[in-house]
Amino acid sequence: MSLLEETNTAGGTPVVTPAPGPAVPDVISGRTPLSRGRLIWRRLSGASRFWVGAIAIAAILLWAILGPLLYPYNATGRDPLNMGLGPTQLHWFGTNNIGQDLYAQTLVGLQKSIVIGLIAGPLGTLIAAVVGSVAGYMGGVVDRVLVWCINLLLVLPSFILLVILSPLFRGLSWVFLTIFIAGFSWMIMAQVVRSQTRSLRDRDFVKAARYMGVPIPTILGRHIIPNVASLLIIDATLGVVASILAETGLSYFGFGIRAPDVSLGTLLAEGTSAAVTRPWLFVFPAGVLILTLFAVSLIGDALRDAVDPTSGVNRD
């Protein structure tokens, strides 16, 4: 339509439509492409595993925090009338042979295990991030010394070391146990971060920062760590699982949490001897432990698939 009008009015002389378009440089047209964060969130929210895990872990956390407040018995008090009793309306998970309420004990143990896991997992990741990125970025002597340390810690059997050292922190609180667990869980991740850093170091944006004179700690914090952040988040999540397992394992063998403190590990240790005769002493703490680990693992797994589409189920 307008083609006709325009040419007719021009009457055969060369027509030049004023060019408004290209004077303005190309503006992003259409939908803005998804940012990486939003893309990960979309993949994550599409995975049912993630929602199952997230809802389960939220419920467990709420339960561990609020549960003891809504329950008449505490973990240390004894009920002399009901010793070694199975689950009843009065004592939901039953009592042990000295009359302590198992439901209250399980909740307190769960609290402790989760707190240790939530601190030790991310702490290990933090150490891994710092050591790995420094070693990878600096290279040379620093790299060699740090890698030597990593390898040394890897070949030392951490469990036996903990067993040997356990008399040393007999009198110390669970905080030291947490630090110890974190101190032995960062090496593999540090290796991964180091190799990632080595490839990032040669990327142009890192070079650009170096040529601008940006100091090394700032480069690490601004460019290197954020670019391996997805890996670190996954590692921290799965590190929670590993740390809870390490804690319960140590406590089970009597090297971790000690009486009067309770954790899921100590409860399991007490319960195993009676697993056949009085199964509730064993089944309930074990069930809670498995449920917690399963929930966190589901989240960690879904997170890894969302961040790295080439891993696992998404590969096609």
């Binding site: 040419t7 440089p25 944006f205 650009a208 040529y211 700032t218 954020p226 952040a229």
Partner: protein
């Protein structure tokens, strides 16, 4: 060899008879889970005749590679392919994978862009070519296949083919791998060779060699060639016909001469005008073709090019034009009286459309008639930007140089062994390089990849004491500077990288990226924000975009962001490391113009590293040609390009393609033999001797001089050249011209 000789069909392509390949209304769609489909190819039709050379040209994402993969049946199974592909009387889309395997490699063969990933690293090159032969010819013995493989390697110009057949792909250079790929492609005498950007990953000198080999292979086998490329210069000299693709559609199709001489589609016009031309570069400004192709998931209504088209009118935004003939023969008034839908509906034109493609020059544009009849000239469609008002560089040229490098050396030790490593050689990456840049001037540093350009600029930017030689920035020697002084000096020297995606941290919004250099110098956040807005405005981006992330921008915009970052500290010298070679041709012109503007506005000096000579000619004042860690020619750009004195410079200039078929076909060419030698080799005398076209023509006594005495840079007029026989340099040109005529004679 029998096969190769038995099919001598070097006759000119005829477009009579049945076409070899007939693609009709081919569409390829990739369904996306939970999103709109990607319409990669939307109804393209073309024909290829026996012995014809078709060039398919388009920007990245125009669907040119997808359409050729559809021919080969190599698309992922999720792709939906409709339309028809007829090859030698068979419909390829109806064949199953097994039947297609019988055709692939024997009747249609393909050459890929990246020759390293296309060859298996664990088998020798000879074995791989023999495998290609044995797959389709069961009667052939292993011995015979090996012998054929050696012959094929010889045909594609690989020296010492017997020895090379036993080598593994990693022992080959990029150019040699691509030759081996061509050998494999012609092994079974195919009727059609599809080459998908075969030279994009290669240097210009190697590119020229590969195109010659491809042409030779075509002549030997009589096969038709479909060459897919984004570079108009590559097709200009070789293709018979050109098809231009845009947003999954063919927008123009015609013979090479027609398309280059009289393009009818504004997109083609824009492409042609945006390419810097070696002939005219430096004298006038480039014509930018701004914007980027539309997303293939959300195509706008109407013509997909409308948003970037300077002559778009209302109808362009309403209906998408079909491919039609737009000749001067059709009177303008008559054409306009035709009912609208009939002119644009390809379904109505259906049976005749394919016939049109047969002979005619067709274009898909509502205003093509006006363009064809001369009502709209090329300059009307894409006007050339006004030249820069001021050129004050001469006034300042007398000032002291911003950067001065003397005798810079960077050798890397080559070690062997793990624990007790010992040095077994030296990589002479940079071997005594000297140059200087005056304020407001641009030095172009040119050479093939591996010649030491990048190492040179990294040495300058590291600002540490060089192994030998001196680096002076603003007259200060970087070797003796303290921390604080170095930091101050870093303000004056900034860099723009080649790959705009890799150069920007994907995790930071662009405001933070551009402001990063300022944080180093303690600029307050408020002042930083103001400066970032100012810089964004300076490079032609909207300051509102400061909080967006790099991936939301197109390649050209990202490069502008990189430039903005480099300018943040008001530097005096900007090092540009191949700043446009990762960009589409259409975008390059805009960035180059911006760089020229900024240079004038801010009185910047550039150290411009590139392998594209046309762009160097466009932007540089002085040029330095590097070969194996040395500068072999150094002088004012106009003088060097007009009268190259060093044989290497001559070869570089003649290898650069010119996007004009008339010039391209009649040019004098100096083709280089072989590849860049390894910088570990210790070569006595002139290190260019092994590839020098002049050297082979010299008398023995003159050759002896080249073989024993290392030439140093000597002044010849305004230009310094490192060659013993500068006065003989026209010998090589005339000799290569004679050689070309000999080739063409029979």
């Amino acid at each position: 060899m029998t096969n190769l000789v038995s099919v001598p069909d070097p006759s000119a392509p005829t477009r009579a008879g049945d076409p070899l390949l007939e693609v009709t209304d081919l569409s390829v769609t990739f369904p996306q889970r939970g999103g709109p489909d990607v319409n990669a190819v939307r109804g393209i039709s073309y024909r290829v005749h026996k012995g014809e050379f078709l060039g398919i040209v388009g920007e990245s994402g125009s669907g040119k590679s997808v359409s050729s993969l559809a021919l080969m049946g190599l698309l992922p199974s999720s792709a939906r392919v409709t339309g028809s592909i007829r090859f030698g009387g068979r419909s390829l889309l109806d064949l199953n994978d097994r039947q297609l395997s019988g055709i692939r490699g024997r009747e249609i063969s393909m050459i890929f862009q990246d020759p390293l990933s296309a060859l298996t690293p664990v088998y020798t090159v000879g074995d791989q070519i023999a495998e290609a032969l044995l797959l389709h010819d069961f009667a052939l013995g292993k011995r015979a296949a090996q012998a054929r493989a050696v012959e094929l390697l010889k045909v594609v110009g690989i020296p010492a083919p017997e020895r090379r057949a036993k080598a593994f792909p990693h022992e080959f250079s990029g150019g040699m791998r691509q030759r081996a790929m061509i050998a494999m492609a012609i092994a079974n005498d195919p009727q059609l060779i599809i080459a998908d950007e075969p030279t994009t990953a290669l240097d210009v000198t190697i590119q020229a060699q590969i195109l010659e080999v491809l042409e030779k292979a075509k002549d030997l086998t009589g096969a038709a060639v479909v060459l897919i490329t984004h570079d108009l210069g590559v097709v200009a000299g070789h293709a018979d016909r050109i098809a231009v693709m845009y947003a999954g559609k063919l927008v123009e199709n015609g013979t090479t001469t027609e398309v280059f001489a009289e393009p009818h589609m504004p997109y083609t016009i824009g492409l042609l005008r945006s390419v810097p031309n070696m002939q005219s570069a430096g004298t006038e400004r480039l014509v930018p073709l701004e914007g980027r192709p539309p997303s293939l998931t959300a195509l706008p209504r109407g013509c997909p090019f409308a948003a970037r088209c300077p002559i778009a009118i209302d109808v362009c935004r309403e209906t998408e034009p079909g491919l039609l003939v737009h000749g001067v023969a059709v009177p303008n008034e008559l054409a306009l009286q035709l009912p609208g839908p009939a002119r644009v509906d390809p379904a109505l034109a259906g049976p005749t459309l394919a016939d049109l493609l047969e002979v005619e020059h067709v274009a898909a544009c509502h205003r093509s008639d006006e363009i064809a009849s001369g009502l709209l000239t090329r300059a009307d469609v894409f006007p050339r930007p006004a030249p820069l008002a001021v050129r004050h560089s001469e006034a300042l040229a007398a000032a002291e140089p911003v950067l001065s490098v003397t005798g810079l050396v960077r050798h890397f030790p080559l070690t062997k062994g793990g624990v007790f490593s010992r040095q077994i050689g030296t990589v002479r990456a940079v071997d005594g390089v000297s140059f200087s840049i005056q304020a407001g001037q641009t030095l172009g540093l040119v050479g093939e990849s591996g010649c030491g350009k990048s190492t040179t600029i990294l040495e300058i930017l590291e600002m540490t004491r060089p192994q030998a030689g001196r680096i002076l920035i603003d007259g200060k020697d970087v070797a003796g500077l303290g921390r604080a002084e170095l930091l101050r000096l870093r303000k004056d020297v900034q860099i723009v990288f080649q790959d705009p995606m890799a150069a920007l941290d994907p995790r930071l919004p662009i405001g933070d990226i551009i402001g990063e250099p300022l944080t180093v110098h303690g600029v307050k956040p408020d002042a930083r924000r103001g400066r970032v807005a100012e810089l964004l405005d300076l490079v032609g981006l909207d300051p509102q975009m400061a909080d967006r992330y790099p991936h939301e921008f197109s390649g050209g915009q990202r490069q502008r962001i990189g430039i903005a970052r480099a300018l943040a500290t008001n530097p005096r010298l900007v090092v540009l490391d191949e700043p446009v070679s990762a960009l589409d041709v259409s975008i390059q012109a805009g960035v180059i113009n911006l760089l020229e503007d900024l240079k004038e506005k801010l009185n910047l000096s550039y150290l411009f590293v590139a392998h594209d000579l046309a762009i160097v000619r466009q932007i540089a004042d002085t040029v330095a040609v590097m070969y194996l860690g040395r500068i072999v020619e150094y002088g004012p750009v106009a003088e060097v390009f007009a009268r190259p004195r060093h044989p290497y410079t001559q070869a570089l200039i003649s290898a650069a393609p010119i996007p004009d078929p008339v010039i391209e076909r009649s040019r004098k060419r100096v083709l280089l033999e072989g590849d860049l030698p390894s910088p570990t080799e210790q070569i006595d005398g002139c290190n260019f001797r092994s590839r020098c076209p002049l050297y082979t023509l010299l008398a023995d006594s003159d050759q002896a001089l080249c073989a024993t005495v290392d030439p140093v840079l000597r002044a010849h007029g305004q230009v310094e050249t490192a060659c013993h026989h500068v006065e003989r340099n026209d010998l090589a040109i005339s000799a290569s011209l004679a050689g070309r005529e000999d080739e063409l004679a029979p």
